[in-house]
Each structure stands twice: as structure tokens, then as C-alpha cells.
């Protein structure tokens, strides 16, 4: 209950004129990002991050978070209407959403998806309200060894889950860490790997790397494929039939649970809960043969799960300072850019900020419900924007964003190089997400490791003399071994891609 009063304060801030407007702008852009094929939540947030440079932290994060969860709503519309997922988390929605649309029930699929997304998203934010403060308070007892162990565990989970090969995942993660070494050493202040280049004295900027890896590489890959816009079908009635309400609500309840639990796991992405939810619904159905032909649970479950995941994934960020997915890593970068350090102290040092962002997510979900139910057809039309118009727009916005980082063309060159790097990595099936996640955590990992080793007088086994750090590191070692075994047995499958990009 002690979360209730700060949450009310948060609502007061989030409902204040400009913040409400930025929430509306964020979720609207998020809808667009989700609808337009080739743009996902990570690309969307990375591209628009520089626009928030001149903004205050509260509206900036409210807007970027709005883009994140808004995009998951948007992706549904194109999945249902034109069988084209706007972002990867909506792939499962195509399985039954599009058949429903062909049966003249596009409105019902969109209505159920919007209701499920609202319930899942809102429940996840409620979980954040109740789990966040006690978890953050517990994490305040953590010292550098515990944080180092926690970050190692998070990274092992990231490389263990992402990419089809463990070697490629670890290489990607280590490249991200080495990139974070460039510039001034956080402990001694020594300059490292600058090669005499003045621009490298402060290291690489997260924004340029994220925009290159996610924005430019996405455009390069999209330009290879010719995509054609399809005319969306009629929307029709928005609500399920009377006898469909019970299975729909049960699917929404299960999707909420699956999404919330998956969101807490670092290294997961929004595709995992949707596929899990779809599989669970199919297994629990009395007649599984309906799936793939327009089963309403096949839309309700996955759509709820991806929005619940999205809210729950913010719990590790707010409470432990650990980004669990590439989009959350971009939000992490935005926090740092605005002078805020995500982690347990955030609830104490910037309580109003945290509660305002949480409150804005309740408001954003409500706005999205209104936007989706009556306006679904209008959003569907936007999906017909041809890539030949979309990609130049993405490129020029990326260029402007990169330039605005330091007012220098250096950052544009860096973005181009990372764009090409991301393009090649995609072709070689090397996951990009670990690069960004380790880059963003690199300096923190290094400083916590060095501080711990100073404390242990150079004895690495000192980590195992502390119960929490030792347990976390042991868990990380076990998970790494399991991931290697799975890799050797070739058990890593479709859930392992850079899905959220």
C-alpha cells in the first residue's frame, strides 16, 4: 500500500499538460513504428532518442516508453489486416488473426487484441508498482561484487538465449564490451584505445551505435527485399461472440501470466512469450485443429503476452539497473543520457520520476485502447505506405539524430560503419542485441569487477565467499554450461533471433 501515494503523485505529474501530450505523441509514434513493416520497437526508440536531447527527463522517458509499448499494439494491426507483422512479436498473431480477417472478423481479432493488450499491459505495470519498490530496497544491499555477479548472470542469459550459436552470441557480447573500453577508464582515468583521435576520448556514443546497428542495418536489409503494400480488408464488429468471451478471457489471463514471468528474465524478447502463449493455448484447446484457421484464443493469448512482457521487462531495469532486452537497453541509454542511473537507488533518488513514468504507462495503455478499438481501420491504411518512401525517411532521420549527438559529422560516420557492421552481422547470423546490451553495461561491469577485486585483494574466489554474489555467479556458470550443451546438441531454435529489433 505504501506504493499508492507516490503513484498518485506520479499520476499528477504524468497528467500535467506537456507530459500527457508527450505520452500521446509517444504511443502514437509507437503505433506507427509497430504498423510499418521494417521498423520495430528497438529501431523506433533508437531513431527517436536524439529528439529527446533537449527535453526534460520525465517527458523524454514517458515518450520513449510510449514508443516501446505502443509499437506492440501497432504490430497487431498489420498482422491481422494484411498478414504482415509490423514487428516480430506480432508474428504469432498472423497465425489466427489473418484467417479471422479473411472470414470477415478482422474487427473481432483487433478488438480482442486491444482488450488483451490493455489488460496484459496494465497488469504488468501493476506488478511493477508492487514488486518494484521491495525489490529495489533489497538490491540496495548489493555491493560491487553482487552487481558484477548480477550483470554477468544477465549477460549469460542474453547470450544463452539469443542467436543460434553460443559462440556467435558470446563473440557479439565481448565485442560490445571491448567497444565500451574506448575512451577514459572509469577507475584510473587513463585514456584507452583512442588511437590519437580526439572524438574517441569520451568513447563511442550509445545513440550512434544503436541507430547504426538497428536503424541503418534494418534499412539496408529492407532495401534488398521488395515489399508490396496490400489493401486491408473490412474491419467489421469489434467484439467476440457471446460464447467466445469465456475462452478469450481465459487466454488473456494465461497470456498475462506468461508475459509477466518472461519479462523478468534477462535475455528474453517479446517473441518468446507470444510463441509460448500460442503453444499453451493450442495445447489447452478442446479442438486444437481450429488453430491456424481463425481461433480467437490464438490472437488473445499472444497479444496479451507481448504487452504484459513489455511492462514486466521494465522491472529489472527500474529495480536492478539491468536491461533485459535491446529495446530496454535503448531506454537504459536514454536514462543515462538524461543524467539518471537506472537501479535500486532510482526509487529513492528520483522517486517522482519513476512513479510519473509508471503512471504514464497506465495512461498510455488507456490511450492505446481508445486508439485501437474505434480507429483500427485508419491505422491499417498507414501500413500501405511503400518502403520506397519509408526508407529514405528513416535514413535522413537517423543522419539528423547522429549529427545531433555532438554536432559533428564524426557521429554520422560512426553510424554508417555500425550500420554496415549490423547488416553483415545479420547476414552471418551473429546476434546484434548482445553488442548493445554489453556496450551499455560495459563500464559498470568493469568498474564493479575492479572494485570487487580491489576489495578481495585480487582473489577472484572472493566472489564465492559472498552468498548472493556466489549464488548468482554459480547460476551463471550453470546456465552457460547448459547453453553450450544446447548449442552442441543444436537445440537452439526460432526463439533465439534478434527478434525485438
Amino acid at each position: 500500500m505504501e506504493s499508492f501515494l507516490p503513484l498518485l503523485d506520479g499520476f499528477a505529474t504524468a497528467l500535467a499538460g506537456w507530459n500527457l501530450l508527450y505520452c500521446l505523441i509517444g504511443v502514437t509514434i509507437g503505433m506507427l513504428v509497430g504498423i510499418l513493416p521494417g521498423l520495430g520497437p528497438t529501431t523506433g526508440t533508437a531513431l527517436l532518442l536524439p529528439i529527446t536531447f533537449s527535453m526534460e527527463p520525465v517527458p523524454a522517458i514517458i515518450m520513449l516508453a510510449g514508443i516501446y509499448y505502443g509499437s506492440l499494439y501497432g504490430g497487431t494491426i498489420t498482422s491481422v489486416l494484411i498478414n504482415t507483422p509490423g514487428e516480430a512479436a506480432s508474428v504469432a498473431t498472423c497465425f489466427d488473426g489473418y484467417p479471422m480477417a479473411r472470414q470477415g472478423r478482422a474487427g473481432t481479432a483487433l478488438g480482442v487484441a486491444a482488450i488483451g493488450s490493455f489488460i496484459g499491459g496494465t497488469f504488468a505495470v501493476i506488478s511493477l508498482v508492487f514488486i518494484g519498490p521491495p525489490l529495489a530496497e533489497f538490491a540496495l544491499k548489493f555491493g560491487p561484487p553482487e552487481f558484477f555477479a548480477l550483470m554477468v548472470l544477465g549477460l549469460v542469459m542474453v547470450v544463452g538465449l539469443m542467436g543460434k550459436s553460443i559462440i556467435r552470441g558470446v563473440i557479439s557480447a565481448v565485442i560490445g564490451l571491448t567497444l565500451s573500453l574506448v575512451g577514459m577508464d572509469p577507475i584510473s582515468g587513463a585514456l584507452r584505445f583512442t588511437f590519437g583521435e580526439l572524438h574517441l576520448m569520451e568513447g563511442f556514443d550509445f545513440v550512434t551505435i544503436a541507430m547504426g546497428l538497428f536503424g541503418i542495418s534494418e534499412v539496408l536489409q529492407g532495401m534488398e527485399m521488395s515489399m508490396h503494400a496490400e489493401k486491408p480488408p473490412k474491419v467489421g464488429s469489434l467484439f467476440p461472440r457471446r460464447e467466445e468471451w469465456k475462452p478469450t478471457l481465459m487466454a488473456i489471463a494465461r497470456g498475462t501470466g506468461i508475459g509477466c514471468l518472461t519479462g523478468l528474465i534477462p535475455g528474453s524478447n517479446a517473441v518468446i512469450p507470444t510463441i509460448l502463449s500460442y503453444t499453451v493455448e493450442k495445447k489447452m484447446a478442446k479442438d486444437p485443429s481450429r488453430f491456424g484457421k481463425g481461433a480467437i484464443e490464438g490472437v488473445a493469448g499472444p497479444e496479451t503476452a507481448n504487452n504484459a512482457y513489455c511492462g514486466a521487462a521494465l522491472i529489472p531495469l527500474f529495480t536492478l539497473g539491468i536491461p533485459s532486452s535491446p529495446t530496454i537497453a535503448v531506454l537504459f541509454g536514454a536514462f543515462i543520457m538524461h543524467g539518471l542511473t537506472p537501479g535500486p537507488a532510482l526509487f529513492q533518488s528520483n522517486a517522482n520520476f519513476v512513479w510519473s513514468v509508471i503512471a504514464s504507462m497506465f495512461i498510455g495503455n488507456a490511450i492505446l485502447l481508445i486508439m485501437n478499438l474505434p480507429l483500427a481501420r485508419m491505422w491499417g491504411k498507414i501500413a500501405t505506405i511503400p518502403p520506397k518512401m519509408l526508407y529514405p525517411a528513416i535514413v535522413i532521420v537517423s543522419v539528423l539524430g547522429a549529427y545531433s549527438v555532438s554536432g559533428s559529422v564524426w557521429d554520422i560516420w560512426v553510424m554508417i560503419v555500425f550500420g554496415l557492421l549490423g547488416y553483415v552481422m545479420k547476414k552471418l547470423d551473429i546476434p546484434m542485441a548482445p553488442v548493445v546490451l554489453t556496450f551499455v553495461l560495459g563500464k559498470m561491469i568493469e568498474s564493479s569487477l575492479l572494485q570487487s577485486l580491489m576489495y578481495f585483494k585480487g582473489d577472484f574466489l572472493g566472489f564465492f565467499h559472498r552468498p548472493i554474489a556466489g549464488t548468482l555467479l554459480a547460476l551463471a556458470i550453470v546456465l552457460l554450461i547448459l547453453a553450450v550443451v544446447a548449442s552442441v546438441k543444436n537445440k537452439r531454435g526460432m526463439l533465439a533471433d534478434d527478434a525485438e529489433v
Binding site: 565481448v174 571491448t178 577508464d185 584510473s188 584505445f193 535514413v395 535522413i396 552471418l428 575492479l450
Partner: protein, 164 residues
């Protein structure tokens, strides 16, 4: 040890047209550079590990991982060099975009955003639209973006002596 390197070299020779092997070699060169450079930094100080400690272990680990990756790529040819880059229209579309980006970045500080931005957009539009439509759209979008970013969002853009 020598036989391992000999075997690796043999596999690399088999993988001349293997993009994975070439990517591995590039990463290996990068890792060796970081490893070599890390020796110019103190490994330890009076208080504990120094600025060279973490880079040396990381780059050492990256070298080992990359050798495993090269071995793996040479053993299981997954992507050939010709699959890495597109051909035909897709290649020329990508090259025109990259060319536009290079021209933009090279001239923007002298020409200002509107001219450089128009060239970049024109390079991307020209393949799908008539030249006058592409030119008109490019200039209009560049001017609009200058207004939105500079005047509305307060982001400083590179401009020429005329202010555009």
C-alpha cells in the same frame, strides 16, 4: 599446438569463399589489436587491477572465441561470400543509399543541411520516381526537416552561410 594451427590453416584455405571465415579473420585482427594495445596500459596498480587488466582478459578471450568461430565456420559452410552482398537492383539501391550517405557526410559542413540532405534523399528517391518528382520531394523534405529540427525541436543542424 602446431598441428592445431596447421589444421586451422587448412580449413581456412577450404573456406576462401566462406563469409564466416573472413568475418572471423576481421574480428581476429580487431581482437589482436586490442590485445596488443592493452600492453601499453598498466595491468595492475598499487591499489589493485589497472586500466589494462580488463582489456587484456577480454581481448584474450575474444581471440580464443574467434579462433573457435573460424574453425566452426570453416567446418560448416553456412554463408558463402556471394550470399553476403545482394546483386542486381538490390545492390544498386543499397549502393546509391550508401553513396548518398558518404556524399552527405563529406559535404554537409560546407554546403549546409538543405543541399546535402537533398542530395542524400535524391540518391534514394531517383530509383523509384521520375527525376523531377525525386528532386522536388528531396528539396521539400530537406527544407521541412530543417524547419522541424532547428525551429521546433531546437536541434542545431549544419547550415551554410545563408543559414540553410
Amino acid at each position: 599446438m602446431l598441428s592445431i594451427f596447421a589444421s586451422l590453416f587448412e580449413r581456412m584455405c577450404h573456406g576462401v569463399n566462406n563469409a564466416g571465415v573472413w568475418a572471423g579473420i576481421v574480428i581476429l585482427v580487431y581482437a589482436i589489436t586490442i590485445f596488443y594495445q592493452s600492453f601499453s596500459l598498466d595491468y595492475s596498480t598499487r591499489l589493485g587491477p589497472g586500466p589494462g587488466f580488463f582489456p587484456r582478459w577480454l581481448s584474450g578471450g575474444l581471440i580464443a572465441l574467434t579462433l573457435m568461430y573460424i574453425w566452426d565456420s570453416a567446418k560448416n559452410t553456412i554463408i558463402s561470400g556471394s550470399d553476403l552482398w545482394p546483386t542486381g537492383r538490390a545492390l544498386s539501391t543499397i549502393l546509391s543509399m550508401l553513396g548518398g550517405l558518404v556524399v552527405f557526410t563529406t559535404i554537409v559542413d560546407y554546403s549546409g543541411f538543405v543541399i546535402a540532405g537533398s542530395i542524400l534523399l535524391f540518391a534514394m528517391f531517383i530509383r523509384d520516381y521520375k527525376w523531377y518528382t525525386a528532386l522536388g520531394a528531396s528539396v521539400a523534405i530537406a527544407v521541412l526537416l530543417l524547419f522541424v529540427f532547428q525551429s521546433l525541436l531546437g536541434v542545431t543542424l549544419p547550415v551554410n552561410e545563408f543559414g540553410w
